[in-house]
């Protein structure tokens, strides 16, 4: 069973603004029956470019319905310039978060909003740009690039969670990997993992991995980590903040920190904690 927040449940069981606005000023339609979710958003826009009313119709799971309902609540009463700035993360945050695998529901909301605004302005849809990468779900390279950039995505699985690409036959996984690497600048795959490193190189990579990958993750829970020493393929670290007192810190150290270090630097490395 999914861990949905109370707010997601509320917007699913009591969806706001269901329906279609007759003679709408902006209409945005995304998704399809085959994909498993679809959203039709209709907007009423005033003379001063303010969204006076918004209604939705959604086919999809609980989080798709909740994301649509939340979106309509968020945009009612604001101008289209303000609405344009809404990201998929804003929708997810409004709902108190979405399960990772369901982030594509918030992306669907953002896409429908963009389309509706473009429709109001008489612009052609943006999504026709780019080349289809994922045939199963009809996702283009530009859409994947954008999702990777905006959400700091690192893996193919992340991309699938956010825009569905790669979730079907999986034949596009190599292309998605290339896009992730081109956006992030640094290749992070096993294929390109450096081998036969000198100790100096290992230390540099360890530092880089700690800074770029591990510290930001630990920080989310109020924790931190410090690189103390390196000898005989052992990485000595000190845990900081909440990590230093957390009873699960050994699990974090072995399952997360060590796994990432092995993956990104070298598989023979182990991580040890230096006690005070």
């Amino acid at each position: 069973m999914w861990e949905y927040t109370e707010k997601v449940k509320d917007h699913f069981l009591n969806p706001r603004n269901v329906g279609v606005i007759e003679n709408a000023d902006g209409v945005g339609e995304v998704g399809s029956l085959a994909c498993g979710d679809a959203l039709k958003l209709t907007l009423k826009i005033d003379g001063d470019k303010r969204i006076s009313d918004a209604k939705f119709q959604t086919f999809g799971c609980a989080s798709a319905i909740a994301s649509s309902s939340a979106l309509t609540e968020m945009i009612k009463g604001i101008t289209i310039d303000e609405a344009e700035k809404i990201t998929n993360n804003d929708i997810a945050e409004y709902l108190g978060g979405l399960p990772k695998e369901k982030m594509h529901c918030s992306v669907m909301g953002r896409d429908a909003l963009e389309k509706a605004i473009a429709d109001y302005r008489g612009e052609p849809g943006k999504e026709v740009d780019g080349e289809i990468v994922c045939e199963c779900f009809g996702v283009t390279d530009l859409e994947i690039q954008r999702a990777v950039k905006e959400n700091n995505l690192k893996t193919i699985e992340d991309v699938t969670d956010y825009v569905k690409a790669g979730g079907g036959c999986e034949s596009c996984h190599d292309k998605i990997q290339e896009i992730i690497e081109s956006v992030n600048g640094t290749p992070v795959t096993e294929k390109t993992r450096p081998s036969g490193l000198t100790n100096i190189q290992k230390i540099r990579l360890i530092e880089e991995t700690l800074e770029r990958e591990i510290k930001p993750e630990l920080k989310k829970d109020g924790g931190g980590i410090e690189f103390i020493d390196f000898a005989d393929n052992t990485v000595f670290v000190k845990l900081r903040g909440t990590c230093s007192t957390c009873s699960a810190s050994q699990v974090t150290l072995k399952h997360y920190v060590e796994t990432r270090i092995k993956e990104l630097v070298s598989p023979e490395l182990v991580v040890e904690e230096v006690k005070q």
């Binding site: 069981l13 029956l33 085959a34 679809a38 119709q57 959604t58 799971c61 609980a62």
Partner: protein, 384 residues
């Protein structure tokens, strides 16, 4: 809120009679069945009693039954035993609609150098037998075909298949996890070499399974260790759960008539009423060759997870073949293999009944589900 449990293909409640016979072995009778003293010997005796009861449920001989930890272990043990008994053979066959316990193992083996044939099914979910038989070769190490499908309840002609496979001298295994206890099974009428059983599908607790291994079948243990289970599985026996599975098997045999009359009648009522009251609804699979407790119904233009969560609010527990419920983006491989269109696969709900369900519960579902579907359809851009 009362729970209405119609998800018995996922798991079942432990029968009170099963719990009762298990309890003493969790407290005073803690002996090791391998011990020389009579305190342990008494426990060993109970294990043999349980083995006889499991054997009797499928008309096997007790020494053809070994206990495992679950259905998946039974499947893995059988398939590994078969391929390691003929290490030169590199071709294996299964169906496209197996449970992940078999499907994912075969996919894993295909990466290890095995050539895998996945036998397709037709629109009604029936296995393409010609395809199966035409693909049997001298290089084939094992054929593993489920007896009944967990999602649709479709029953495959396993006795007939086993006779054909036997003539080719190929090992035949069947995952009978869903079939056992829901239909009469008599291994003596077939040429099945190995058959998997899971306890928690027949009112024993989770964490116990069994594997039938026909006398004379070449076998090598998956868990190597002590002499337990006749050397077929090392490790101290899960005494309490084995005793539970024995009792559950006895109950399943006693309830067989009820399964077909009482449960089958309720399932038919549920299905007929839903089709009558809800437009654009259809049954997935052939309604002729089917377990008496299972129905897979598709409601077009709505999504399964939404239906499940709305039913959940009313205490109704069922399952869906929708993509969204599994965390993957593709709907059920079983429904897709049958060629059920996406429009219907995303909105599929599986109801699997059990002997504890009542007519009142079915009436409740039949009353509450139509407005849920209507409500969701009114929200859907595809419903006019």
């Amino acid at each position: 809120m009362k729970t209405i449990y119609v998800d018995n293909n996922a798991t079942t409640r432990v029968a009170p009679e099963v719990l009762e016979v298990m309890l003493p072995y969790l407290s005073e009778f803690y002996g090791n069945p391998s011990s020389m003293h009579s305190f342990g010997g008494k426990v060993a005796h109970k294990i043999e009693e349980a083995r006889a009861k499991v054997a009797s449920l499928i008309n096997a001989s007790p020494d053809e039954i070994m206990f495992t930890s679950c259905g998946t272990e039974s499947d893995s043990t059988a398939i590994h035993a078969a391929i390691s008994s003929v290490p030169d053979k590199k071709h294996i066959i299964t169906s496209r609609v197996e449970h992940p316990a078999v499907k994912n193992l075969f996919e894993h083996l295909s990466k290890k150098g095995y050539r895998v044939t996945f036998v397709p099914v037709d629109r009604k979910g029936m296995l393409d037998l010609d395809y199966l038989y035409n693909n049997l070769t001298d290089d084939t190490a094992i054929v593993s075909i489920m007896w009944a499908n967990n999602e649709t309840g479709m029953i495959f002609p396993i006795e007939e298949i086993s006779q054909v496979i036997k003539k080719k001298r190929i090992v035949f295994h069947t995952d009978a996890v869903q079939a056992v206890g829901k239909m009469p099974i008599d291994v003596s009428k077939s040429e099945i070499d190995m058959l998997s059983i899971s306890g928690h599908k027949i009112h024993a607790p989770k964490g116990i399974g069994a594997l039938y291994v026909r006398k004379g079948t070449r076998f090598s243990p998956f868990l190597i260790g002590g002499h337990q289970e006749g050397g077929r599985r090392g490790g101290t026996e899960n005494v309490v759960y084995i005793i539970g599975l024995g009792k559950a098997s006895e109950l399943a045999a006693n309830h067989m008539g009820e399964m077909i009359t009482h449960v089958g009648k309720l399932r038919d009522k549920l299905e007929n009423e839903l089709l009558k009251r809800i437009p654009n609804a259809m049954i997935n699979g052939d309604t002729e060759n089917r377990l008496p407790n299972t129905t897979s119904v598709s409601f077009e233009y709505v999504e399964g997870e939404s239906i499940l969560l709305m039913m959940n609010e009313l205490g109704i527990c069922a399952s869906s073949g929708s993509a969204c419920t599994s965390g993957s983006l593709e709907p059920s491989h079983v429904l897709r293999a049958m060629g059920v269109p996406f429009t219907a696969a995303h909105g599929s709900i599986r109801f699997s009944l059990g002997i504890y369900n009542t007519e009142e519960e079915i009436d409740f579902i039949v009353e509450k589900l139509p407005p849920i579907i209507e409500n969701l359809r009114n929200m859907s851009p595809f419903w006019k």
